[in-house]
Chain length 188, copies 2
DNA sequence: TCCTCATATGCAACTCGTTGCATAGCCAAG
DNA sequence: CTTGGCTATGCAACGAGTTGCATATGAGGA
């Protein structure tokens, strides 16, 4: 149930509405966690009724009202408790790897375009992460020195960068393998 | 719904029972997909009633009967169709990254043992993958030349190896960062 | 003898996550 | 003037995944 905790972290970094959270989950938090607005609204409601969050209705001019959530004492305590509990190291769930092994029972060369498309997506993500790193942490406009929260955000971002770089290199390996097999066995 | 397809791939590689599949999902297939026996039994039953799989009851001496599943024509067709459909590049779900950012609101040094434990798990996985690579693909007992299926299994395994190596390096970066913050801010 | 482990399958209840749809006002482009 | 996009929230239904428990047999150890 880490979505709850990811929301607590994000709201501690800055209070906001469900809609704003959903956008953060498409951006910085999205480097390591994804969530749709449906999930977020549902969990926010539960967390509020559990007393972890406070909600403040903000009537706005020219657009629908929004509800700004912020973390209460029990929310902070719940996060702290979770931080002290051990969690399971994650295991991967990689559809593309299933497809690659499945290619042994189909035409391997048919996968090449798909793998190229994935490579492009990861390459775009890498560029996006690197731009963010320059903007927030290593560029001339970045604060110096960084505070603890920023250092931790930076090390998480470095993880995202390392992940994308590793993935791109692996997809190149996959492409080379598929092309090699496609040449020697034009039709499997 | 890639569990279904992972099962098809695994049963095409070799027919087997639900129990055997569950063990494969703890081993080679588990490099990139996990599933419990509950999930597997449930999906096998559905796939059989959908006509994707054939089942053969094997009475055994000295132990409970087992049901051996194998892929039928429609199952192979379903896999082939899926292989030709584009899939979304996955996004990460990394609890540990949530914890690391959360450490800004708690004592960062409390996370060090947790990160060290994760590093150990990934290091063990890497050793396990490398042993498997030597046994099945690069060692003296490995078949030469490898057929297409084995080449594809190998490139997937290389992906697992690259992932673990990257993760270990990142966790070292995380540990260095946490230790640095722990020194300059003994209590956050 | 009893306990645990390994094989082998399964139900029931639950939470988590996704998808489609609905509402509602404003703005800008065509 | 209608279509689509952005802000902002939400319901309903479904599918995916987890956890706890139940059943059955035989082997080996305490």
């Amino acid at each position: 149930m880490a979505l709850e905790h990811a929301i607590l972290v994000s709201l501690l970094e800055k209070p906001g509405s469900g809609y704003e959270l959903a956008r953060r989950f498409d951006r910085s938090i999205g480097y390591f966690w994804t969530a749709t607005h449906q999930q977020i609204y549902r969990v926010l409601k539960r967390m509020e009724s559990d007393g972890l969050l406070a909600v403040r209705g903000l009537p706005q001019q020219d657009r629908p009202d929004k509800k700004e959530y912020s973390v209460m004492g029990p929310g902070r305590a719940a996060l702290s408790q979770w931080l002290h509990e051990p969690i399971e190291p994650e295991s991967i769930r990689h559809d593309l790897a299933v497809k690659i092994r499945g290619a042994a029972f189909d035409d391997p060369s048919a996968l090449i375009r798909e793998v190229e498309r994935h490579r492009q997506v990861h390459s775009d993500r890498l560029a996006h992460y690197l731009a963010g790193e320059l903007r927030d942490f290593t560029g001339p406009a970045a604060p110096t020195p960084l505070d603890a929260g920023q250092e931790l955000q930076h090390v998480v971002l470095r993880g995202g960068i390392a992940y994308e770089r590793m993935t791109i290199a692996w997809l190149d390996d996959v492409l080379a393998t598929l092309r090699r097999l496609g040449m020697s066995h034009p039709r499997a």
